[in-house]
């Protein structure tokens, strides 16, 4: 009996670590080795997970951050920890991996991305600490470092976009998102400049209006735009379906761009036109929802896996968020303790319920794939490699899903009724849900250090 054993222990994984290699796809379709290094996106993703766990521990220690009005040092600091440390890290890392694959090209420069990682990590950690002590000079310094990283990110993604063979809705949404993040960071730096006695023209703006405009630009322009655009690629891929109406998909992205631009200006200037642009954003998201439903109805894989279920549950939260947005955009809405808590709940559902939950769902796709690809791709056909679903516990993933839903309901109730006990209970539940993610992430990463290969049960010869 002769059993073929893995012979590729010494085989290099190819040239995909070579950032300088041109990655053109000629009109005839001849593609060079185009895959990127996986350590780069994994560095961003692990940083993001660490920031998430740090943020949850912080909230466990100080749940009153959620039950008081959000214009205070701790609330601003923790918002930046979640928005920059958790979400931006994950989204940027995932974009370095997904944008070239989704748009059929190669990342312009891995070296620039690695440099950005340093600016990014130093920038957001320094910003969070400086916000916590409300030292605006240090916020300005570390904010500038973070912004320098964002500029590298934008330059890198823009040059990558210039390489793509053909533009589509996904490419337009990525292009839009990097434009909006540039404006978000610029607006943030101006707000800090105003608080340190510079940029005097900023004094004409209401500081809370400027802060809300900045937050909406980041949440809608960068995160929501990317979730919308990328889901047009990923959901058909994971459910074995396809875009049903390309014009409808494109319309959702263009309407969203228009709504974001108008909403930013109206919030900044405290204009009475806020409800109009809130409506445009809601229409854009409704069109997006209609296309997603059509994609799901046409899917060939009837059973939805848990990663996709996380993601779809998250985007379904756009419905209550839209209602809240329409209510809160009303110009004559009085600012009292309840509407203040309503704003907190709106921000919390947006950042945690919608964006974070969607990101966790996609992480369950991205992390296993990155680790699997880095560990096992060279062994395919030479040894038995585990399937992606075998790299983590589906039961834990499902448990994490239901605990997250409970955590969201309890925490939002605590926020709405200014109840610190409910908020703390919700945070405990979030910690429990995220511990399932941590356990699964550790299990996935263990393959990186201890690959689980088996000999191929292949061909037996006899005479």
């Amino acid at each position: 009996m002769e059993v073929s054993l893995p012979i590729s222990a010494g085989v290099k994984t190819g040239n995909h670590n070579n950032g300088r290699k041109p990655a053109t796809i000629s009109p005839g379709g001849l593609a060079s080795a185009a895959a990127n290094s996986i350590t780069l996106p994994l560095s961003f993703i692990l940083t993001g997970l660490l920031a998430l766990f740090a943020g949850v521990i912080w909230l466990l220690a100080q749940p009153e951050i959620l039950t008081a009005y959000h214009y205070n040092a701790n609330a601003v600091a923790i918002t930046h920890l979640f928005a920059l440390g958790w979400l931006c890290s994950i989204v940027m890392g995932a974009m370095y991996q997904l944008v070239p694959v989704a748009l059929e090209t190669k990342l312009f420069s891995e070296r620039l991305a690695k440099i950005q990682f340093i600016f990014h990590a130093v920038g957001f950690i320094g910003m969070v600490l400086a916000f916590r002590g409300w030292n605006m000079k240090w916020v300005g310094l570390f904010g500038s470092i973070f912004a320098a990283g964002v500029c590298l990110f934008i330059y890198n993604v823009s040059r990558t976009l210039l390489r793509i063979p053909k533009w589509n809705t996904v490419a337009i949404s990525v292009g839009s998102a990097i434009s909006w993040i540039l404006l978000t960071v610029t607006a943030g730096l101006f707000i800090v400049a105003a608080k340190t006695g510079h940029a005097n023209f900023m004094f004409r703006f209401n500081p809370i209006g400027a802060m809300h405009a900045h937050a909406h630009l980041g949440a809608l322009g960068f995160f929501t735009m990317l979730i919308v655009g990328v889901s047009y690629k990923l959901i058909p891929m994971f459910t074995l379906s396809e875009i049903q109406n390309p014009k409808r998909a494109l319309t959702s992205v263009i309407l969203l761009d228009g709504g974001i631009a108008g909403a930013f200006i109206c919030i900044l200037f405290q204009s009475t036109l806020k409800p109009l642009f809130a409506c445009i954003v809601v229409v854009a998201l409704t069109v997006y929802g209609a296309e997603m439903l059509a994609i799901l109805r046409a899917r060939k894989r009837r059973a939805l896996d848990w990663g996709v279920t996380y993601f779809l549950t998250a985007i379904s939260l756009l419905a209550p968020l839209s209602i809240l947005a329409l209510v809160l955009s009303w110009p004559k809405l009085p600012l009292n303790p309840f509407t203040g808590q309503l704003e907190n709940a709106y921000g919390f559902i947006a950042f945690v319920g919608f964006i974070s939950f969607a990101v966790i769902g996609m992480l369950y796709k991205i992390i296993p794939f990155l680790v699997w690809f880095g560990t096992y791709s060279k062994h395919i056909g030479r040894a038995q490699v585990p399937a992606l679903a075998e790299m983590y516990s589906e039961k834990l993933q499902m448990t994490g899903y239901w605990i997250f839903i409970a955590a969201l309901a309890v925490t939002v109730s605590g926020i709405l009724f200014s109840n610190a006990i409910a908020a703390r209970t919700g945070c405990v539940l979030f910690a429990a849900s995220l511990s399932t993610l941590a356990f699964n992430a550790a299990e996935i990463l263990s393959h990186w250090f201890r690959p689980q290969l088996k000999a191929m049960p292949v061909i037996v010869r006899k005479s």
Binding site: V11, K12, T13, G14, N15, H16, I25, G28, G29, L30, A31, S32, A33, A34, A35, P100, V101, E104, M237, F238, L240, E242, K300, R301, F369, W372, F373, S377, K378, I380, G381, R382, V385, A387, L388, P457, V458, I459, V460, R461, K462, S463
Partner: protein, 173 residues
Amino acid sequence: MSAETEILDVREDIRSGREPFSKIMAAAARLRPDKNLLLLAPFEPKPLFAVLAKQGFRHSAREIGNGDWEVIFSRNGKIERLAENGNGSVPAKNSAARVPDSALIEVDARGLEPPQPMVKILETLNDLPDGATICARTDRRPMHLYAQLESRGFTGRTEEQNDGSFITHICRS
């Protein structure tokens, strides 16, 4: 005198949910003309008969218990019935039939979630006989495949089709 027989047992693959088609096709493609291929499967693989018949294979199948089947494939004109030859060894009939240099193995990797298309193609690649090429059809341009091909001494050329799918022609560098 018995011909040399290669035995390919795909029962465990199928039971554990792995797709054995590419492995079977690769084994068939690399089979020397003076050899037979004995396939062990957990059911009678009827669709395979027609596919391999197009490549000049004749077959003889029989149930061997527990619902399992063994099928012997041969490129030679004559093969003995397995029922008459329980040990699976089939008399040799040397013929001039050879794996043609231009042998083309088709791999349909559509309708699969990543990374299964890449797995299916690379599993076929590993057993590819000299001179043979692979024509792989996928739903998406296989961006992660090219580096793997390059590291294994192959090149891939991808063309988008009118129906939105992609065909990648793979051959040795």
